[in-house]
Symmetry: C2
Subunit: 341 residues, 2 copies
C-alpha cells in the first residue's frame, strides 16, 4: 500500500508562489474579491451593504488553502492577509486589513493560535485602535494534540478555524455587536476539538525539502499542519482504527452524552483523496451513532491543508441551538457555499 515516488510541483519561481496564488484567486473571482491597492498581500471581499456589520479579519501563513484566503466572502471573513508559506503575515498587512474591514461596528480578528501571528495581530490591533477602530481578537486553539487539557490556550489552531469563520461570520452577518460576535467566537472555540494524523510530509517551495520524515507503514498522530511533531508515531492504522483512535481522544477532551449534537469535519491535509475521507466518515458516523450523538451538517473535504501532505484531521464542533442556527445560515465564498434558506 506504499511505495516511494516523486513529488513535483507546478509552480513558477518559489519566491512568487504566494503572490501568484493571490493573483490567480482574484483573477478567478473578480466580482467577489480584490486585493488592497496599497498592499497586494491583503485579500478583501467586495460584498456591498456591510455598513454597521462587524468586520471579520483573518490571516496566517500560506500553504493551507482553502485556509485562509478561501474563506473570504459573504457570511464568513471580510478580509485576509497571508504571509509566506507557513510564515506569519506582517503586522502592517494585518493593520491594513483591519482598517479595510471596519464598517463602523468594529473588527474581530480571528486566527490560529501561533506565536508569530499573535505577536503581529496584537501590534496591528494596537495600530487600529489608535485610529479609533474597536477591535477584538480571538485565537482558535482546537488541536488537542498540541497541549494537554487545562492548557487549552496553548493549543494550535487547525481545521477548526473553518467552523470559527462560519459561525462567527454568520453572527456578524446577523448584525450582532462586536461583543456578541466575540462571545460567539469564544463559545465556538470552547466546543471545538481537532486531532490530525499525517501519513506523508509536504514540501515548502522555498525550502525544497520535506517538512518531516515518516517511516513506511507508520503514521504520526497529532502532527501539526506545519509539520509540528505529534504525540505518538503509530503503525499505519486502518481507517476504522483511525476513526476510533481519533474519537476516543476527542471525546475524552470534549465529553459528549447521548442526545448531544455535533458537526463533524473530516478534512484532507492535501493528498488524501475524498474516497478515504468518506471511508473514515463512515466509521466516525457509526461510532457517534452508537453513542447516541447526532451529526448535523458534516463537512467532508479539503478544508485546511498543508500543501500536498497526506493525512487527515477530524474535528468535532458541539452545537447548541444558537450555533446550529449560525451553521445553517447562508455563506458564499470561493471555497465554501451554504445556501440554506
Amino acid at each position: 500500500m506504499q511505495l516511494l515516488f516523486f513529488k513535483q510541483a507546478l509552480i513558477n519561481a518559489p519566491e512568487h508562489f504566494v503572490q501568484e496564488t493571490l493573483q490567480g484567486i482574484v483573477a478567478a473571482y473578480p466580482d467577489r474579491l480584490r486585493l488592497l491597492d496599497q498592499n497586494d498581500r491583503v485579500l478583501l471581499s467586495t460584498e456591498t451593504g456591510r455598513d454597521g456589520k462587524v468586520g471579520i479579519v483573518t490571516g496566517g501563513g500560506s500553504g493551507h488553502l482553502p485556509v485562509f484566503l478561501g474563506y473570504v466572502g459573504h457570511g464568513m471573513a471580510d478580509g485576509c492577509t497571508v504571509g509566506n508559506v507557513f510564515a506569519s503575515p506582517s503586522y502592517q498587512a494585518m493593520a491594513d486589513t483591519i482598517r479595510a474591514c471596519n464598517f463602523g461596528a468594529g473588527v474581530l480578528c480571528l486566527y490560529g493560535n501561533y506565536g508569530g501571528d499573535k505577536m503581529n495581530f496584537d501590534q496591528a490591533c494596537e495600530d487600529a485602535e489608535f485610529d479609533g477602530i474597536s477591535v477584538a481578537s480571538v485565537r482558535v486553539c482546537d488541536d488537542i494534540a498540541s497541549a494537554p487539557r487545562g492548557q487549552e490556550s496553548k493549543r494550535r489552531g487547525v481545521a477548526g478555524l473553518v467552523y470559527a469563520y462560519k459561525l462567527t461570520g454568520a453572527a456578524a452577518a446577523r448584525r450582532m455587536s462586536l461583543s456578541e460576535v466575540e462571545r460567539v467566537a469564544q463559545k465556538v472555540i470552547s466546543n471545538l476539538r481537532t486531532i490530525g494524523v499525517a501519513l506523508s510530509p509536504c514540501i515548502v517551495p522555498e525550502v525544497g525539502k520535506p517538512t518531516f520524515t515518516i517511516g513506511e507503514d507508520e503514521m504520526e498522530i497529532g502532527m501539526g499542519i506545519h509539520g509540528e511533531p505529534g504525540i505518538v508515531v503509530s503503525r499505519l492504522l486502518t481507517a476504522d482504527e483511525t476513526a476510533q483512535m481519533a474519537l476516543d481522544r476527542l471525546l475524552e477532551d470534549l465529553p459528549l452524552t447521548a442526545g448531544d449534537e455535533v458537526s463533524v469535519m473530516v478534512n484532507s491535509l492535501g493528498a488524501t483523496p475524498p474516497e478515504e475521507l468518506y471511508i473514515l466518515y463512515r466509521a466516525v458516523a457509526k461510532i457517534l451513532r452508537n453513542r447516541g450523538i447526532s451529526i448535523f451538517m458534516p463537512h467532508i473535504g479539503a478544508y485546511a491543508t498543508s500543501m500536498e501532505m497526506a493525512g487527515v484531521s477530524i474535528t468535532l464542533c458541539k452545537l447548541d441551538a444558537e450555533l446550529k442556527m449560525l451553521l445553517r445560515d447562508p455563506a458564499d465564498t470561493p471555497f465554501y457555499t451554504n445556501h440554506n434558506k
Copy 2:
C-alpha cells in the same frame, strides 16, 4: 522541488474500498442520496418532483471522486453506478440505475468514452428499452491527447464530464425532451476540450503499486486518468509554461477567436494543491485575455481525480447563449453547488 517519499492510504481492506466509500457518502448526505435497495453499487438522488423530467444516468470506475458519484443531485445526474477502481460497473447495475431514473420522459446515459463502459451501457440500454424505457447515450470524449483530430470519437472522457453533467442536467431540469437533452449533450461535447499533465502516479488499492512511473524533473503530457500513456514526456515545465503548452494544444483543436466566451476548468488530479491550480489559472486567464477570449464561471479545484496522482488538467468549454444559460442554472450536489438565481 522534488524528493522521494512514501504514499500510504487510510483505508480498511482494499476489497471494501468502493463499497465503504459509497456507504460513507450516503451516511454523510442521507436526506439527499440513497443506495438502491437491490444493488448497493447504485447511488440515487432522493430529489422529489422529477415526474416528466429526463433522467440523467452516469457511471464508470471508482477512484475519480468527485467523478462520478459526487455529481448526483439537483441539476446534474439523477443516478450513478460505479465499478471497482478504474473498472467499469456491470451492465446489470447500469440497467438498474436507468430503471430507477426513469421519470416518464426517458433517460440519457452520459459517460466517459471507454470500451468497457460503452459495452456495458449498450447492453444496459438494450435491457431498459426492452422494458419500454426510452434511452439515449452520449459519450464524453474531451481528452485531445488520446486521439488526433478527425478521430474525436476515439478520445477518452476526462474532466470535461463535469461540464457535460452540468449543462445536460440543467437542460433536463428545464424539462427539455430526451431528444433536446441529447442535442445539448452533443453540443457540449463538440465544444469541449481537455489536456492533462501528470507529475506523479497513483496507487490503486487492490493493486498496490503505482499506475506508471515518471522520472525526476519530468512530467508526462496527455497522461490519461487511469495512467494511460501520454503523448510526450517533457522536462518539468513551470506553471506558466504548462499553461502555454496546454492552451496552444487546446486552441489548435478548438479554434477560438476574439470575442468568444469559454468556461475554463483547472482541475487537480488529486495531490496537486489548490495554490498550484490558482497559479496556473492566473497564466491561463492572461493568455486567453490577450487573445480577446473572455472567461465565464471558471472552475478551479479537484473535479475529476485519479486518487492521489499529482498533476492537473485544463479544460475549455466554449459557450453560446444556450450553454451559458445552462451553466448558470442552479445545481446542488455534494461536490458541486451553484446557486445563481
